[in-house]
Structures are given as C-alpha cells and as structure tokens.
C-alpha cells in the first residue's frame, strides 16, 4: 500500500470509521499471522492473539503520530501482545541460551568454527527443503526468529525492525547475521547428510 493511501486509511480509522479499519486489517493481517504463527506454541489459538493485537491497534490508533512507522508499530504491538500472553500463562519470555557476547555495535556474532560451504540456490527452493527450512526457522531462538521473519518474510528495513523492537541498529544487524548463520549452519549439516 502506498504511503498516501495508508495515511488516508489511518486517518479514517482514527475518526472511528470501522469500514476503513476492516480494510486496514485485511491489508496487514498476514504480517501479524506470519509472525505469530511462527512464535506461538502450536496449541495456542493464533487468531485469538491476532484479534487482541488488532483491538489494541484500534484502541490506540489515535496515539500514532507518524503514519510511516505504522508497520513497525504494528509489529511492536504484536510482539508485546505475545509477551503479555506468555506472562499471563506464567511462561518466561525467552532469552536465547546461546546469547552472544556484547560488543560496542551490539550483540557480537559468536565465534564460529563450522565451515558451511555453499548451499545451492536451486535446492533450497525445492519443496522438501522448504519444509525443513520452515522447521529450522521455527527452532531458532526467539529473538533471532523475530528479526529474520521481519526482515526476510515481511521485508522490513533494519531501521523499521529497530523501531519495532526498540533495539539498536547494531543489535538488529547482529541478530539478523546470527539468525542467518544458524540457518546456514543447520542447512549445511542437512545438506551434507542428504549428500551421503
């Protein structure tokens, strides 16, 4: 959606126009589902959380000053709603077990020793690999999973991710790198096994 159209749509929503809000939900619901579906445990009701996200969006839409940051804001509400739900269920908000050391730029990439080799693009696009890729994305530590979904699946810029998650650009950069590193590592291992 073009910025001008989004701005008009949001103004209508801010004026309480439900039809406009339905259009907004229709346009952006997949972003919310993309993230939630990969974040929440299978037994949870994804739609229920998504519904809560959209109601929060509706209730606080008047507070949105910069329409250009709508997507980042939508993600922030989504992630926070998910964390709230975790807390309600008495679950701890996950912090990666293999948390890398801190550097001036943010979280440094862990010292890697695995030689990954090169993964052929044509193979990664095959159905069997897509299933495996989906699985290993699901298995990523949460903070890496969130950034890689935002970056690769929904196409957010580093700045947008930084705003959405309220983390520095350096941290965004290193989390994305770390997520990719982990995925490539897993895919390489799988690739080696399949080749044997």
């Amino acid at each position: 959606m073009k910025d001008q159209n989004l701005e008009n749509l949001i103004k209508l929503c801010q004026a309480g126009n439900r039809q406009a809000f339905a259009t907004l939900v229709k346009t952006y619901q997949q972003l919310v589902f993309n993230l939630l579906y990969r974040l929440v445990p299978r037994e949870w009701d994804v739609e229920d959380i998504a519904q809560e996200v959209w109601i929060k969006i509706y209730q606080s839409l008047n507070a949105l000053k910069n329409v250009a940051s709508f997507r980042s804001w939508l993600y922030r509400v989504t992630v926070n709603t998910y964390y709230d739900r975790m807390r309600q269920k008495g679950l701890k908000v996950e912090v990666s077990l293999d948390e890398p050391f801190e550097t001036e730029e943010g979280e440094g990439v862990r010292f890697p020793l695995v030689d990954q080799g090169m993964l052929p693009e044509e193979i990664l696009l095959e159905k069997e690999w897509q299933v495996y890729l989906e699985k290993i994305i699901q298995d990523l530590p949460e903070q890496y999973k969130i950034v890689i979904i935002m970056r690769e699946i929904d196409g957010l810029s580093y700045e947008e991710i930084s705003t959405a998650l309220d983390i520095s650009l350096g941290t965004v950069k290193s989390r994305i790198a770390r997520a990719r590193e982990k995925l490539i590592e897993d895919l390489s291992k799988y690739f080696q096994e399949v080749k044997r």
Binding site: R18, A22, V109, Q130, I176
Partner: protein
C-alpha cells in the same frame, strides 16, 4: 565461517587455551583464507621483531612505512555480520564499496554472500504458513469497543472550518433575533432549533431543513434574493 582476526592473532602468539587452539587448527586445515591471514600475521610479527633488532643495531629504518606496507595484506575477511549487512545493503557507502571490492578478490567470502542470497530467496519463497478464517475481520470489527460516535463528534469539532462555520451561524442567528425586537434572549430559549452542522454544510438553500420560517415562524429572514 572464517575465524575472527583477534582469535588468529592470539593463536599466532600462542595465547589460546588448548581446546580453542584445537578448534582453530581444525579450521585452518580446511580454510585457505584464514591460513593466509595467519601467514600475514606471522610476517608482520617477524618484521616487527627484525625491526627491533635492526634499530638496536643503530640502523635507520622507516619503521612505520614498513609496518604499514605489511598490514593491508593482513586485513581479515569481513565478518559474517558485515557480509550479512552487505547482502541487505545496510552498510554505509564506504564500507559497502570496500566489501564489494573484497568479494572480487576473495572466493570464500563471495560464496558466503551468495549463500546468504540463496537463503534469503528461499525464505521469501516460503508459502504463507497461515491463512486466517474468512470471518476473522468481522470478528475483530464486532469486538472493537463502541467508540465510533464519540471519536467522530470529537473530530468534527476539531475541524476548524466546521467550527468557524457553526460559530458564525450561531452569531448570525443571534444577530437576527436581536435585530428583531420581538425576540429577547429569554424568548430564544423557548425556540426549538434542530439545525445541525451537516445541514449548514450540505443542504441547498431550498432544503426544508434550512427553512427557518418553518421552525421559527415569526422571525423574518434576511432577503437573499437581492
């Protein structure tokens, strides 16, 4: 994945713990790039050492120049983080150009970037994992609080054009009533006026809702016909 320069440097100085040293050796066995960096580190160390010796002998040497000449070759490959940011075009221009140049010279890093591109493409091509029920939107809409009217009222009054129009209309109405001696403010209170802002804005002069004669029969209207 190549080793960090600091690790290689520490390895070159034999300052690593045994277990890490073994990992580094295993990596060096399969990685030309890191072996080259290590070789360069050794060269620099050797140069510095020999410079020290020669200086002690009182020989004039351009220490800085010799050291700098040896350093560029020892620069390590970009980190995975830098290559990842490069693939997203998220580096500043100078760094981006530097990495781009490096990729033309380093086959290993070039392969790594290509792998990142392949991974990105594969993730972007994943089919949508979740399709919402068709009635999801109506469920959301039916669940949102009934605040619509309140918000609309607030925004209509926030519109300065409407606000000015309503105020001007009110003043004009009071003016008409005051000009006509038959009406005092006390009388006005008894008149049931049902004209809304929308009536003023969107109705034509012939619209019955604006026909003040009907709602206030005894007030003579201003003659608009000229």
């Amino acid at each position: 994945m190549c080793l960090d320069f600091e690790i290689l440097s520490a390895y070159g100085d034999d300052e690593l713990p045994e277990d890490v040293k073994k990992d580094v050796q295993a990596h060096l066995a399969v990685c030309d790039a890191c072996r080259n960096i290590l070789k360069n580190i050794h060269t620099v160390n050797h140069n510095i050492h020999s410079l020290k010796q020669q200086t002690l002998k009182g020989i004039e040497i351009d220490f800085a120049n010799k050291l700098i000449a040896a350093l560029p070759a020892a620069l390590p490959c970009p980190t995975h983080e830098t290559l990842s940011a490069y693939s997203d075009k998220a580096l500043d221009f100078t760094k981006f150009k530097e990495v781009k140049q490096h990729l033309t010279e380093c086959n290993i890093c070039d392969k790594k970037v290509k792998t990142i591109y392949a991974l990105s493409k594969a993730i972007r091509n994943l089919p949508p994992v979740y399709k919402a029920d068709e009635d999801f939107i109506s469920k959301v809409i039916s669940d949102i609080p009934q605040t619509e009217k309140k918000i609309i009222d607030f925004h209509v009054w926030n519109n300065s054009r409407i606000r000015r129009f309503v105020i001007a209309a009110g003043i004009a109405l009071v003016g008409i009533l005051v000009v006509n001696n038959n009406y005092t403010p006390q009388n006005i209170e008894n008149v049931n006026i049902t004209i809304t802002a929308e009536d003023f804005l969107f109705s034509s002069p012939s619209d019955s809702s604006l026909d003040m004669k009907k709602s206030i029969p005894d007030i003579p209207l201003l003659d608009n016909s000229g």
